[in-house]
Each structure stands twice: as structure tokens, then as C-alpha cells.
């Protein structure tokens, strides 16, 4: 139990700094320091088309914190499988979860070798809990599910929270995201939860369409969807937790301060329970 560096694969993948990666672009938007020139170049092109994308990133990250707190405190979830974790920042899932339930177990998954290199910051588990990291790709869900690290850290006989935060919009339709989600959810017992958020196009269709072109032009996956498409893709057959699929900024907000406009947020999120 406790902090275990269970994530080291036999042959660490190379970090290619010449190509942008979404985890580093997201880190740039959040004000982090783990990005290279290629990431910043793509990030700045996205910023030109979507000037409020930093708001998107921050609101998305704040949603993650509220969703995890809800799952631990109100839904009693003690295990998380977080796919598309990104670079360590504030509100890492285990910090939020273990602040409420120190015994919580978390498996982090990302496909960026740089996240692996920084994974130590994700492996600062409480002594009672457990965190682990695996380098894998959402497009190969079986590899995630059958990874010995996953199996060791998570008990698939008990409910868990599956998290795909701002990740599904990187999975293009030809990669069959619905099948990926079904494969993962099928492996989880009833009473498990799915947390997902997705950049959506309805409030800024032109900016999002240009952003998709930028991403694809940079060799990154991108699939613009509207909130209905996202809801159907992510939550079909599940029981949505109120308030449902909403702008991430509107999902159980804390405080009564003013919140960003829909066209600044451009990102929907939801939490649902497997019946």
C-alpha cells in the first residue's frame, strides 16, 4: 500500500519534443511548465481561434475536482481509473479523493511519455491508499484493463469511478469511441460511475472547427461533437447524476460567484452511474 512506483514499463517510450502532444498543450493552457516549443506553437494557434480556451481548461479542471469530491463523499467510491490524466497539476484525482478518503486507490493512464516521466508527482499516495501509473492508450482499452498494475491496484469486484476528462474529443469517430467506452464499462461492476467531459462545438462552431483543423494538422486526434452527441456517446445506458450533461462550469458549482459564458467554456461534462 502507499506510494508505489508501479508504473515503470520495461522500456520507457521516447519523449519526442519535436511533435506537439495534447497533455503538454493542456498543461500550457493551465499555466504549467511542462511543454516544449512544438506544444506552445500548436497551443498558440488554438488560442488564436479560441481565445477563451484557457477558461475551458481551467473550468474543466475545476469540474474534475468537484466530480471526484462528489464520487468520494456522496457516492462512496474508493477506486478510480483515470484515463488521459495529463501532466500532474493541481487537483490530481488522488489528492482530491484521498483528502476525503485516505484509503482511495487510483490508477492513472496516459499515452504521453512525458506524463510517465513526471508520474512521480502522481504517485504521492497517502500511506493508507494507493496510486499507480500506466503508460497506455485509450484506443486500446483491453491493454489498460489487463495490465497487471491495473489489476493489482484496483478491485474489479468493487465499484469504481472511470474518468475520461477532456479526452474523448481526441478520439475520432473512426476509432470507435463508443466501443472503447463499452469495453471499459463492461469490465466494471454495477454501481460504478463514469465521469466524462468533452469540448463541444455548439457555442463557438467556427472556432471549434478551426481548432479541429489545427489539431489534425498537427497530427493530433480531434473530433468536434455537440453536447447531444457527447451525451449519447458517453452515457447511453447509464443513470445520469443530476444536473445531467451540462457545461462543466454549471455542474454542481461551488460558491455563487459569476461563471463564464457558454462560449467561453465550450465544454460539457457529466457523471453517470452504471445500473
Amino acid at each position: 500500500m502507499g506510494t508505489e512506483e508501479s508504473g515503470s514499463p520495461e522500456a520507457p517510450p521516447e519523449i519526442d519534443t519535436s511533435r506537439p502532444h495534447m497533455a503538454r498543450i493542456y498543461d500550457y493552457f493551465l499555466g504549467g511548465k511542462n511543454h516544449f516549443a512544438a506544444d506552445r506553437e500548436t497551443a498558440q494557434e488554438l488560442l488564436r481561434n479560441l481565445p477563451s480556451i484557457r477558461v475551458t481548461a481551467r473550468e474543466n479542471r475545476a469540474f474534475l475536482g468537484r466530480a471526484v469530491r462528489y464520487l468520494v463523499a456522496e457516492a462512496g467510491i474508493r477506486q478510480f481509473l483515470d484515463i488521459g490524466t495529463g501532466l500532474p497539476t493541481t487537483h490530481n484525482v488522488h489528492e482530491v479523493a484521498q483528502a476525503i478518503a485516505p484509503a482511495a486507490h487510483i490508477v492513472y493512464v496516459d499515452n504521453d511519455p512525458l506524463v510517465l516521466a513526471h508520474a512521480r508527482a502522481l504517485l504521492t499516495s497517502s500511506p493508507e491508499g494507493r496510486t499507480a501509473y500506466i503508460h497506455a492508450d485509450l484506443r486500446e482499452p483491453q491493454a489498460i484493463l489487463s495490465n497487471p498494475v491495473t489489476r493489482e491496484a484496483l478491485d474489479f469486484g468493487q465499484p469504481m469511478g472511470l474518468i475520461m476528462l477532456a479526452t474523448l474529443h481526441l478520439i475520432q469517430n473512426e476509432d470507435k469511441p463508443a466501443e472503447i467506452i463499452a469495453t471499459l464499462l463492461d469490465a466494471l461492476p454495477s454501481g460504478s460511475y463514469f465521469v466524462a467531459s468533452h469540448i463541444t462545438m455548439e457555442h463557438s462552431p467556427d472556432g471549434i472547427a478551426r481548432g479541429q483543423s489545427t489539431m489534425r494538422g498537427a497530427g493530433l486526434g480531434a473530433q468536434a461533437r455537440d453536447s447531444d452527441e457527447f451525451a449519447e456517446l458517453a452515457f447511453s445506458g447509464l443513470e445520469l447524476v443530476p444536473p445531467g450533461v451540462v457545461l462543466v462550469s454549471e455542474w454542481r458549482p461551488e460558491g455563487n460567484g459569476p461563471r463564464p459564458t457558454p462560449a467561453e467554456v465550450n465544454c460539457y461534462g457529466g457523471v453517470a452511474r452504471k445500473p
Binding site: 499555466g31 484557457r54 481551467r58 475536482g65 493541481t90 460558491g255 455563487n256 459569476p258 463564464p260
Partner: protein
């Protein structure tokens, strides 16, 4: 205490009700537009959009300012035990109205709101929904004439100047030019408050993004609306000289006792400093 039903202070009979001129932009309505309210007219939106074209992050900065207001009032009503507020430049009713935040902590809190926009007066009912135990009042007046605020019967009726008062000057001092002698204005107001009172203030700054925020400021100036950003040191000296600054001091409004560990906006996006300070001396009479 009289509750919301007693709104005699809303529009004192002796004060002629000023006209709402919808053809000219007013900063209170522009602020409302930035933070997502609905009380603005075409002229307000047009000028606000011009300012946003120069400073696209303006909405972020002003929302952070409004959230700062909420955290400050919670601190004052909670930890500092303040029960009376004088909120000058209150703006249009929005989220985090001072009495709503304060009375959630202390239902008996009393709040006098002051603004110089007739539109705020028209909407002041939403500021006057006091708890039954507390009291709210609204006065149309201008910060440049602090004596008129202090001598107003409406204010005197709601606030007991023998007890500590929190003076709120949130995002309003930058509307005063140096020739308006803002330090004297602040001095006059604080001079009327007893020891143990607090000043909470925030102020626009150019120091993190001079071109974008400065361009936004120029849009105001060109339209005949005063707007005078000051850097953090100038603001701190202007507002808090002689007072005991509450930790963390004068900081970006987003960094003042944040209530979440979620990522916060960049300094350039926020471009506003804020602080809270206490008037020294033993509290009370």
C-alpha cells in the same frame, strides 16, 4: 429591525429621481455585461465589446473581482465579525450581492448600498431583499462626494457609525482621477468610521498586460468615462495607508484567500489587485 418591507431609504423624497439615459454607456451596466448579467443597453454593450476587443480576458478579470467580493464579505462577516457594510459603487444586483453573502453568515447584517447609476436605483429592489433580522438600504450618490454619503439619512438610519463598519470600494477607485483626490475621498470615509472598521478595495492594474488592458482603458477614456488603472504599489498606498493589512495583503484578486485549489487565471487575465485592511485601535465605543 425592519426587514425588506421597509425600503423607505430606497429613494429619499428629497432626492429627485434621475433619468436613465440609455443612449450613453455607463460603467455599472458595462460591468454587468462583462460578468454575464442582463441589465445593459446597446450603448453599454457596444462600448464593452470595444474594450473586450482590446482585452479579451476582461470578463475573466471582472468575474474574479466579483468572486473576490464574495470571499471578502464572507471573511468580514465571519472571521472579522463585521455586521455593517457600506458598499460604494455596488453596481447592478448580481451574484454575490453583499447582503446576501453577509446575511448568509450573519442574518442581522446591515448593508447600505451606494451607486451613481440611476439604473442601479431602478433595480435596487433586488438589493433590498434583506433578511427580516437585518436591514438594507440604497442611496444614489457619487463616491467623489463622500460627505453626501456619510450625511445621508438613509445611510445613517441603517448604519451605526459607533460600531465597526466595513467600507467596500470594489473596482471603483479606478474611476477616480488623481485630480479627484481619491486619497482624500478614502480619508474622509475612513475618518467617519470607528477603530475596528475595515476597508475592502480592488483596483484595475496595467502592470501585467499594459497593451491589452491599457487599450481597454483607452476605450473608456475616449467615451468620456474615467478609468485610471494604478499599479499595485500606488493602489496599496492610496487605499490602505495607515491601516493594518489583513493577510495575504494586496494581491491579485484571484489570489486573495482563494477557496479552491483549482487552477486560477493568469495575472494578465486578472489584472486587478485587491486587499482588506483594518482601521487600528480598539473596536467599539
Amino acid at each position: 429591525m425592519a426587514g425588506s418591507a421597509d425600503s423607505a431609504a430606497l429613494a429619499p423624497a428629497e432626492v429627485p429621481r434621475p433619468e436613465i439615459d440609455t443612449s450613453k454607456p455607463h460603467p455599472a451596466r458595462m460591468y454587468d455585461y462583462y460578468i454575464g448579467g442582463k441589465n445593459h443597453f446597446a450603448a453599454d454593450r457596444a462600448l464593452a465589446d470595444q474594450a473586450l476587443a482590446s482585452w479579451p480576458a476582461g470578463r475573466i478579470g471582472l468575474r474574479e473581482n466579483r468572486k473576490f467580493l464574495g470571499r471578502v464579505v464572507r471573511f468580514l462577516a465571519g472571521e472579522a465579525g463585521i455586521r455593517q457594510f457600506l458598499d460604494i459603487g455596488s453596481g447592478l444586483p448580481a451574484t454575490n450581492n453583499v447582503h446576501a453573502v453577509a446575511q448568509a453568515v450573519a442574518p442581522s447584517a446591515r448593508v447600505a448600498y451606494v451607486d451613481n447609476d440611476p439604473m442601479v436605483l431602478a433595480h435596487a429592489r433586488a438589493l433590498l431583499d434583506s433578511s427580516p433580522e437585518g436591514r438594507t438600504a440604497y442611496l444614489q450618490a457619487d463616491l467623489r462626494d463622500p460627505e453626501s454619503i456619510l450625511e445621508s439619512p438613509a445611510v445613517r438610519e441603517v448604519l451605526d457609525f459607533g460600531q465597526p463598519v466595513a467600507l467596500m470600494l470594489i473596482a471603483v477607485l479606478h474611476f477616480l482621477r488623481d485630480e479627484d483626490k481619491p486619497d482624500e475621498v478614502v480619508g474622509t470615509l475612513l475618518g467617519a468610521l470607528p477603530p475596528g472598521s475595515y476597508l475592502a478595495a480592488s483596483h484595475l492594474t496595467l502592470e501585467h498586460d499594459a497593451s491589452a488592458v491599457g487599450g481597454g482603458q483607452q476605450v473608456y477614456l475616449d467615451a468620456g468615462i474615467p478609468m485610471h488603472a494604478r499599479d499595485a504599489d500606488q493602489f496599496a498606498r492610496l487605499a490602505f495607508t495607515g491601516l493594518e493589512i489583513v493577510p495575504p495583503g494586496v494581491v491579485l484578486v484571484s489570489e486573495w484567500r482563494p477557496d479552491t485549489s483549482a487552477p486560477r487565471p493568469t495575472p494578465a487575465e486578472v489584472s486587478g489587485y485587491g486587499g482588506v485592511a483594518r482601521k487600528p485601535g480598539p473596536a467599539g465605543r
